[in-house]
Amino acid sequence: MSVAKRPADPKRKAPKGAARSERNWRHPLRSWLGSHRASARQALHQVRSYPFSSVLTVLVMTIALALPMGLSVLINQVEQLGVNWQKAAQISVYIEDGVSKERQQEQLAAIKTLSGVANAQLLDKELALAEFQQHSGMGDALLQLSYNPLPSVIVVTPSSIEGGAAALEPLRDRLAAIDGVEQVQIDLLWVERLAAILGMLERFTGGLGLLLIIALLLVMTNTIRLAIESRREEILVVKLVGGTDAFVRRPFLYIGVLYGLLAGVMAWLLLAAGLAWLNVTVQQVASLYQSDFALIGMPWPDGLTLVMGAMLLGLVGAWLAVGQHVRAIEPS
């Protein structure tokens, strides 16, 4: 580096000073990248110079992100459980008392040939009683009975429950028409209720998410507004030496993205930890219902979406703030 030689340089080049100070077109990409790197570094510097308020901002954003995202992940996973249950949706075909075992087998065979039937299983009345005694907790009381009150049942699994109970009506009629069938019951109501409840929860989560996103944008906008105010002097100087509005805006946009990134990652960690913590009790409850259901935690794609979305929200919030405030600061 020939620092000592430099002062002689302007002598030769001074008459072309104006031309020399124009933008250096030979390195437009490098200039652009360099300028962005400088903006990013400034953003980092700004966030680090106000650690307390930065941490608070990130925490508020984290909670605003984690709450709706967590609910949505939970609902999604319960919905998948619902899908499994739907597969188990059944039509119970009660056989008239007194129908012979051979006739029951014929009925079963007939039902299996019907279209719309995925599977059918005969639950003979003695078997039904044994199962009921075992699981209902009323085993001793049942032993007092002198006869078996339970009917034989053919449990039919429909191949599709699309369209709900109404769509199963034709199948029910055909089942009811079989000789020796006393009653046909579609056990679909609870599946429909579950779907309705999940739909309601989903809508609630959507509304809550919308409100929290608005809150998050307001927090971001206010944070950036304060950052702009705290650097008013600097903005004036930058504008005086030829900084464009875009140049002045850029570090603040980076601050928004940086806050978004931090809050997104924090929310991801919080959700992953929270779901793991919840999973312990969920598995306990599930095992009591003879289910091996477990939360699958925070899926990768959801986490990435969360972080990207948070960065985008940070950017939008910052943009809203700089749009208003940067133009208003002019040297005079």
């Binding site: 000073g17 360099g34 600097e234 030829g242 509005d245």
Partner: protein, 220 residues
Amino acid sequence: MIRFERVSKRYPNGHQGLDNLDLHIRSGEMVFITGHSGAGKSTLLKLIMCMERPSSGAVHVGGQNLQELSSDDIPYLRRQVGVVFQNHQLLFDRTVFDNVALPLVINGTPPDEVGRRVRAALDKVGLLSKEGSLPIALSGGEQQRVGIARAVVHKPALLLADEPTGNLDPALSAEIMALFEDFNRVGVTVLIASHDLPLIAKLDHRMLTLDQGRLITDGE
């Protein structure tokens, strides 16, 4: 380089900054503007920098009618001009190096060239050893020289200074003026607003005197 044609500037509060001013400063000149405070010195510099717009008349800088510049063009005008302020306008949370580098960072100069040019400018004002210091650690005269280094680091064709020796003792003031003369000698047009008449009188340059926004003497 600079041409004012019947330029008036009246502020919203009724103060007449400039009154029907005609002025021509040629490329390569070194010119002092004097006058009492409120005579219009600062207004004149602000019009050249597009920090203010004239109420009437036209200001040309480097052949460009400033009236025709949109607000998006103004930053590019300012990049052609170096400005030195009385109160330095340094950023106190940045090092001397970063302060001087600001105009180069703004116009997108590649980093290695930034380093070279900043050190050349600091060397010129005799502060090469202070590049890593914060401005607060420097004396008033040194801070002003950092301001000058920042004003010339991007090699502007035009250098403006508003009371650059306002807070300095006579010896330091003379040093600063000598620096401006050095820049002028290599072809930079220099325009200095100052009311330090004893100092200006010692230097042999064109002197404009303003009074209530009018040009009363032009010592060409």
